[in-house]
Symmetry: C2
Subunit: 182 residues, 2 copies
């Protein structure tokens, strides 16, 4: 398990990532900004920022032992030289989702939506880090950061398209797909 | 499910609850203070406070549908007139706990430690509200608040004694038992 990190995604005039596209999939979008910086820690904000999203890496909420072993065997780390494309996908799920007990959320997440199994189909091409922010009182529940090579962008498009057709995604009430390049 | 609340427990010279006892069960304690106030929301701090602990009510991490139905049928709300005794128990679990996948944490929590089943034995005498703070970067993972009548204090003592003997509690690396009266 990676160390627990507080991570800030700061959009504005500067940062190593160029914002190529910002598409609201469901619910409201975010202001346009040319660049994005990712800081580990609660970085102080420059006055010129357009928006900031913060989350924390945390323990697993649904993944079971055998699934973790499959993930760990195949998932790459962040920062690969060839991974010059990224996506930041903030998501908020509905109150109806959060009111479900753990067993029913798990059944929708994996038994019926195959969230982990679908993700495995895109490993090791797509690196991923999940940040939680629901308990922080943020407007989103999760911020997921993905990194991949330009030649894997079509595969990444397929991955998010498959997830968006699942039962789990019927509980997503806000989602923004932010694509980046460095 | 109750609304999501950010709750502050502020110990210091004032507040409706008198701190009767503050016992470190494992790990470090907290400074002594005569009174405690519980605020729903991020209450501004008076300069005289001794310590503050904050957490948020959140969705269930382990409870399944049938267990929730049993709990909801029996658990009382906070603020009963006769419940003039309370306990605030901050807990932090070890990294070894948080590194376990969900299925193994659930197995220890309920299949082997019977956390929910033991708690049910003390309903409706003991009212309870759980606050999460691990993802907030706090020194504790959970703050649990209990309310009961003076005549149920011995039953409450038995409840915490039973839980402290479980396998789950072998993962507790800091726990303080704070008893209060109003």
């Amino acid at each position: 398990m990676p160390p627990r990190l507080s991570v800030s995604f700061i959009a504005g005039p500067s940062g190593p990532w160029s914002v190529e596209d910002l598409t609201p999939i469901v619910g409201g979008g975010l202001p346009a900004a040319p660049r994005l910086a990712v800081y580990e820690g609660n970085e102080a904000l420059n006055a010129n920022y357009a928006w900031v999203l913060r989350g924390v890496t945390s323990h697993e909420r649904y993944v079971e032992r055998v699934e973790r072993e499959r993930l760990v065997a195949r998932e790459p780390g962040l920062g690969r030289a060839e991974a010059t494309r990224a996506a930041l996908i903030p998501i908020r799920k509905s109150e109806a989702w959060w009111e479900l007990p753990q067993d029913e959320r798990r059944a929708i997440f994996e038994a019926r939506s195959r969230h982990i199994a679908v993700g495995l189909d895109y490993l090791p091409a797509v690196a991923r880090r999940l940040h939680h922010c629901r308990d922080l009182g943020a407007p989103f529940d999760f911020l997921t950061w993905f990194e991949f090579a330009p030649s894997d962008e079509a595969a990444f498009d397929e991955l998010v398209a498959r997830l968006r057709k699942t039962e789990e995604w019927t509980y997503v009430e806000r989602e923004i797909d932010i694509r980046l390049a460095r």
